[in-house]
């Protein structure tokens, strides 16, 4: 558009010089991704290697930039709901919730109690399946043939069955609405969920024996990719990654959105901030999720699931702006919406946790082996739909 706006091109790779000014082994510039088995989609890292050691790593984004925000600004508030499913396609329920929460904040809608319970149940189920799959993925990045992933997906299918039963779709649930949820759950479903949740701890036990103390897993993860606490806060890291770095910051406790204040659960916190901590924090979080689920399934009240004031069509919130956020499995998922009173948002912005969690990818990978870089990326837990939007 103007001359000033010409973007600078890729930065030059400057070889790291040894102390005596002598060059080390020649640097190898390798592009990992976008078509790479372990970059969780079309993520790309431009890596500069010295031998196998990473001396520079630049993430390259945009290979899945599908203009989510632009589309969101061109369609109505309701029509945008199914698009949020496709942000973090593992966790459509929490995406739905974050978006619904934001718009409810904007329009001042009140969610009935039963709907809040259902939302919490769905969110925690999502967290369970997301964390399980993540562990599967990242053990696969470590080189396992996929067996952990198979087990993870085996359990995931059970949760997806529950989602499908209620919302109709396995992944893209499009389940929540402003002021409640779309469909009520029945008792049969609750009974099924109880069974899945009860079985889940058994599965986690087995998964734990399989992986948690496996010597190779320990060797590959402990003291690798350490993220210091201060850097984590400064770099706006959220979610399990932040807690693994030792910061007690869980939006379910801080913001107490939904009805999380009613549940009795704890926030596990790591010490070293390495990959193993990130892994273990997720495992422990799953245990806490199971606790929440048990309480929620026990206490769920009877009642309506939609705010009677909420309108499906012709929804026009008052002008203003709002930022709403929830603790999605990957971290703080925020939506920032500016309304100008029309049926479409004026500005619609997603604050994707995994995108911002990637800020310090280079810091974590420098000096480590290329194999570690892959595992570190796996432990960040990214989903490209969310990173690039």
């Amino acid at each position: 558009m103007n001359a000033l706006a010409t973007p600078p091109k890729n930065f030059e790779v400057k070889p790291k010089l040894a102390a005596n000014g002598e060059e080390l082994g020649e640097l190898l510039e390798v592009s990992m991704g976008p078509h790479h088995p372990s970059t969780h989609g079309v993520f790309r890292m431009d890596v500069v290697l010295d031998g196998e050691k990473v001396v520079k790593l630049k993430p390259v984004f945009g290979y899945l930039h599908r203009n989510h925000e632009k589309i969101g600004e061109n369609i109505s508030y309701l029509a945008n709901m199914p698009y949020t499913d496709r942000l973090d396609y593992f966790c459509s329920m929490t995406n739905n919730w974050a978006y619904a929460l934001t718009i409810e904040k904007l329009a001042g809608l009140v969610v009935p109690e039963r709907a809040e319970y259902i939302r919490a149940i769905m969110a925690e189920l999502t967290r369970l399946q997301n964390h399980t799959c993540l562990i599967g993925f990242f053990v696969q990045d470590m080189g396992a043939l996929g067996t952990p992933m198979m087990y993870a997906f085996r359990e995931r299918e059970k949760i997806l069955d529950l989602f499908e039963e209620v919302s109709g779709a396995r992944m893209m649930c499009n389940y929540m609405r402003f002021g409640g949820v779309r469909v009520d759950v029945n008792d049969e479903w609750i009974a099924k969920t109880k069974k899945v949740v009860a079985d889940y701890s058994k599965f986690l036990d087995e998964f734990g024996t399989f992986l948690t103390e496996n010597e190779i897993v320990l060797a590959r993860t402990q003291f690798v990719g350490v993220l210091p606490k201060d850097l984590a806060i400064n770099a706006s890291i959220t979610g399990p990654m932040l807690r693994a770095a030792g910061v007690n910051y869980d939006l379910r406790k801080v913001d107490k959105y939904g009805i999380y204040s009613r549940f009795n659960f704890q926030v596990p916190v790591g010490e070293h901030g390495d990959i193993y901590d990130r892994y273990m924090i997720r495992v422990l979080e799953m245990r806490e999720s199971i606790k929440i689920l048990e309480q929620a399934l026990r206490d769920i009240p009877v009642g309506p699931v939609m705010d009677p004031k909420a309108k499906l069509r012709g929804f026009r919130p008052k002008a203003g702006e709002v930022y709403g956020r929830v603790e999605a499995p990957k971290g703080e998922l925020g939506f920032y919406v500016i309304s100008d009173g029309s049926p479409n948002p004026y500005r619609y912005r997603v604050r994707p946790p995994s995108f911002i969690n990637l800020t310090i990818l280079e810091d974590m990978c420098l000096g480590h082996n290329i194999s570690d870089a892959v595992v570190i990326l796996g432990s960040v837990d990214i989903v490209l739909g969310e990173v690039d939007r």
């Binding site: 558009m1 103007n2 000033l4 706006a5 973007p7 600078p8 091109k9 890729n10 930065f11 984004f61 945009g62 930039h65 203009n67 925000e69 632009k70 600004e73 904040k105 904007l106 329009a107 001042g108 850097l231 806060i233 400064n234 770099a235 706006s236 890291i237 959220t238 910061v247 910051y249 801080v254 919130p317 008052k318 002008a319 203003g320 702006e321 709002v322 930022y323 709403g324 956020r325 703080e332 925020g334 920032y336 500016i338 309304s339 500005r347 912005r349 604050r351 995108f355 911002i356 990637l358 800020t359 310090i360 690039d388």
Partner: protein, 215 residues
């Protein structure tokens, strides 16, 4: 947490040169924001981050907003001499509010667990004076988000360590998230077109065959 007015007062006391405004928000949530002039944006942000009472050490969300030129109409009464007689005449005056780009920061405190404080910075216009200070030196978390704002809106952050396009390719020209961006034309096959799409799609329809004169 302090109210925005209190923060504003303390800021003004500490940084007299800063021009700070509290913007209203009419919607249910009522999250108001601090509008800071670009020149003192960095110092204000640093104050917010380092102040012991605020300790906004966590920059959650950075985003750009595009406000194109807007025609504002207002009715004003103007005294006019009509036929020698002074009269009050109502006149519709059209103002063009010049457009600008806005960058919004949502700041929280992790230690004190409060927030958000919404910080806004505005560029002078949307064409050539789109410079703003980068807050990446204060919050690493803003790095990619500012890059994104640069990529999609064209705000140039000075002080940013690595300001490049992030989502679009390097050869791309223009800023696609601006409201006046025109998407490239690829409407060759649109079986279910509507509105603008229909207009675009029609451009691709083959020319009507000339009506043949049948004997």
């Amino acid at each position: 947490m302090e109210t925005l007015e209190q923060i504003k007062a303390r800021l003004e006391a500490a940084l007299p040169s800063a021009k700070i405004e509290v913007l209203a928000n009419e919607c249910a949530a009522g999250e108001r924001s601090l509008l800071v002039d670009a020149a003192s944006g960095f110092t204000v942000a640093k104050f917010l981050r380092d102040d012991a009472q605020l300790k906004l050490d966590y920059c959650s969300n950075v985003t750009g907003v595009d406000w194109p030129d807007k025609e504002l109409t207002e009715k004003i009464k103007v005294k006019q001499v009509v036929d020698g007689v002074e009269k009050e005449v109502e006149e519709v005056k059209k103002n063009i509010r010049p457009g600008y780009l806005e960058v919004v920061y949502h700041l929280y405190s992790m230690g004190l667990k409060h927030g958000p404080v919404v910080l806004r910075l505005r560029t002078e216009n949307r064409a050539d004076k789109t410079h703003l200070p980068s807050l990446t030196p204060l919050w690493r978390g803003a790095e990619f988000q500012e890059r994104e704002v640069y990529d999609l809106y064209g705000v140039i952050f000075y002080g940013h360590p690595d300001l490049r396009r992030i989502l679009m390719w390097d050869e791309f020209v223009g800023f696609p998230m601006r409201r006046d961006y025109i998407a490239p034309d690829d409407f060759e096959y649109e079986p279910t077109p509507h509105d603008e799409v229909l207009v675009e799609a029609k451009k691709h329809y083959p020319a009507e065959p000339k009506a043949e004169v049948k004997p």
